[in-house]
Symmetry: C2
């Protein structure tokens, strides 16, 4: 991957490239000729304040402290179901909350800039009374971390998206505060539940309206999984929920959003899909065909489903050139952005300084599909342009 | 597409190309130079005997007769849930059971050979006492239809796969009968439930063993959907269960099969995946990565998940060049075979002689990805070779 020294050079050479106005189409392919910085747009942190919240809880999601002092993160209901306390969830260390560790990881892998986001399940499990001030505090925390990073960190913020009749208007206020007060926050991370009823819930319209007006990017990320009831009784560790349930959830939530007409009502919403859109680039044609054969659904929409998909952005966290190529072929390489999913999927042996296979698999796929120079947009140039990281 | 006259010419020129022995790898790419016949390997029929069974039932799956005399097919539980009798399920006409209609459809679209299969839900809803003789009668019926087709029809047979301690041995006997008595049956169609507990059920081992020994192709096809609980309360017709639930089900059932070691115990099983593998070509990398990060699961398997996926065959029923290209890039174009999913997804206007968009979308994708000549393998040459249709 690229070396850190590329950062300053590139930020200088890209200063003149103003990001497009929010409402303009993003279809143009990055044509940067000099080295772009390497940008990681899918990289998580459990902020210290959020860790304290999880440590204080006795129910999932929670952080357990073992007698040894080691901590374990339990975020999925079925992680707690069948296991003894000492094997619940997954081991968690300071790489989950210490920004110095994030920087070490970035230096180790030649990542110049990270756009950090709170990891799932965000504030989904709180009532509005707790979620609203917590969102504000977490956004304040993450802005401060980014502001002190010497230009190396930007962020997706968090909204108090919970099931409450006042949640939408509270989210709208938070969006306004982010826009006016937190310049390093370039978008918000969004789960698939919305206000408790999915992303096709009309109650979300004020939130979509405010997001559209703000120009903030929505980073759509799964948590709950979809299809878990079909995974069967045999133990396959976390493989089925992570490898299948996560991408199914992303896929389903975005298809529901499209079919409900959200993108006709808010055509300038900016959306970035985790894990290269789950399975959406592969299913785009089947989705178009099924809608075309259902006149009632088709007549509700201005475009074919794949045409909405082509307006979205995708990370490159798909671990294989076949999936990456499908993504770049559907939407063009100018809308695809490198990510790592750090600190998840660490090396098994955990040796200091060991490269993370989960990272190198994704950067190798970019090189295989687009070549070293052709991949610079995906590796960082696109993120700089789309999220305005040179501002 | 190709004209019927291509059939005889091609069958003559391909007579010398013996299909590979069953246990040999299928990796070689088709190198046919003259025109291959066009073969449809994903095309269904509700055999007349099966129609009578559905007409006799008062529960799903069933065929309803309306006062007008029109019939409706109700095969999914939720099709019956919220609807009045007259709008349950979908309209069904003679194209679902009349072989003359299948032939008309084939002629209209330049399809030389069809490999027909009973449509879902097959015999899943019967007890073994009814399923076993019904499987035998349906296989006898379909063999007779193919034998009288002047070489234009072959078939995937059906097995009495139901939840019963004697079902596996009954299936083994049926496999032996198919192999010895029904030469036009080149495989069997398999749902995701197996004997009621999924395709990773050890009770299926005798069935897999017999299928491996027989050389019959398994045509894996969805019916129930996966993730239906996440589709939300808003009405989107059949779009979500068909566009998403079907491919999720195929994906999940095959991943469970792989993770349970079935393909290590039966490495020469021949498997053809409906709808280009659901979502598997796109998720192959994520699946490899999740398994690699779970040593307990990884240590059970001889190969990476994607390596098992590369041994399977895929239909080309994915309605878009992006999905088709992902499929051919994962497994090579020599393992991908054209299909139509007839009689599902008929033209909306239903004019006589109208081309089916569901068919032309898939043939156009083959041409877009592989070119007119390069696509001959996918359009038919591969099926001739893999299923031995020149025998």
């Amino acid at each position: 991957m690229f070396t850190r020294s590329a950062l300053r050079r590139t930020l200088m050479t890209t200063q003149h490239l103003h990001p497009p106005p929010i409402s303009s189409p993003l279809r143009q392919i990055s044509t940067m000729t000099s080295k772009s910085p390497v940008v990681d747009i899918h990289t998580h942190v459990y902020l210290p304040r959020y860790m304290d919240l999880l440590r204080s809880r006795s129910e999932v999601p929670r952080v357990l402290t073992l007698p040894s002092g080691d901590e374990r993160l339990v975020i999925l209901a079925d992680e707690a179901k069948h296991a003894s306390d000492t094997s619940q969830g997954r081991p968690i260390g300071s790489e989950y909350y210490d920004i110095a560790k994030k920087m070490e990881f970035m230096d180790q892998h030649g990542i110049d800039i990270s756009v950090i986001s709170l990891a799932n399940p965000w504030l989904d499990f709180l009532g509005l009374g707790q979620a609203a001030p917590m969102a504000r505090m977490l956004n304040t925390d993450i802005e401060k971390i980014c502001a002190e990073s010497d230009g190396r960190l930007f962020a997706f913020g968090v909204l108090p998206l919970v099931e409450d009749s006042l949640a939408a208007s509270t989210c709208v206020k938070e969006i306004e505060t982010i826009t006016s007060t937190f310049p390093h926050i370039r978008g918000i991370i969004l789960g698939s539940r919305g206000l408790g009823h999915g992303l096709d819930d009309p109650a979300l319209d004020p939130v979509y309206s405010a997001l559209e007006a703000s120009g903030l990017m929505i980073f759509l990320h799964p948590h709950y999984g979809t299809g878990n009831e079909s995974f069967g009784p045999r133990s396959n560790g976390h493989v089925l929920p992570l490898a299948l349930g996560f991408p199914f959830e992303t896929t389903t939530s975005i298809v529901r959003l499209i079919l409900s007409g959200v993108l006709d009502r808010f055509p300038n919403l900016r959306i970035l899909l985790a894990h290269s859109g789950g399975t959406l680039p592969f299913l785009a044609g089947r989705l178009d065909s099924c809608v075309a054969h259902d006149p009632q659904v088709a007549s509700r929409l201005k475009l074919k489903p794949s045409e909405y998909l082509m307006k979205m952005c995708y990370d490159a966290v798909v671990y294989h050139e076949v999936g990456l190529k499908a993504t770049t072929e559907l939407v063009g390489e100018g809308r695809v952005m490198f990510g790592t999913d750090h600190p998840f999927f660490p090396p098994l042996k955990g040796k200091d300084g060991e490269e993370w296979m989960s990272v190198t698999t994704n950067s190798a796929a970019v090189k295989a599909v687009l070549g070293e120079e052709g991949g610079e947009g995906v590796m960082g140039g696109n993120a700089v342009r789309i999220l305005g990281l040179d501002r």
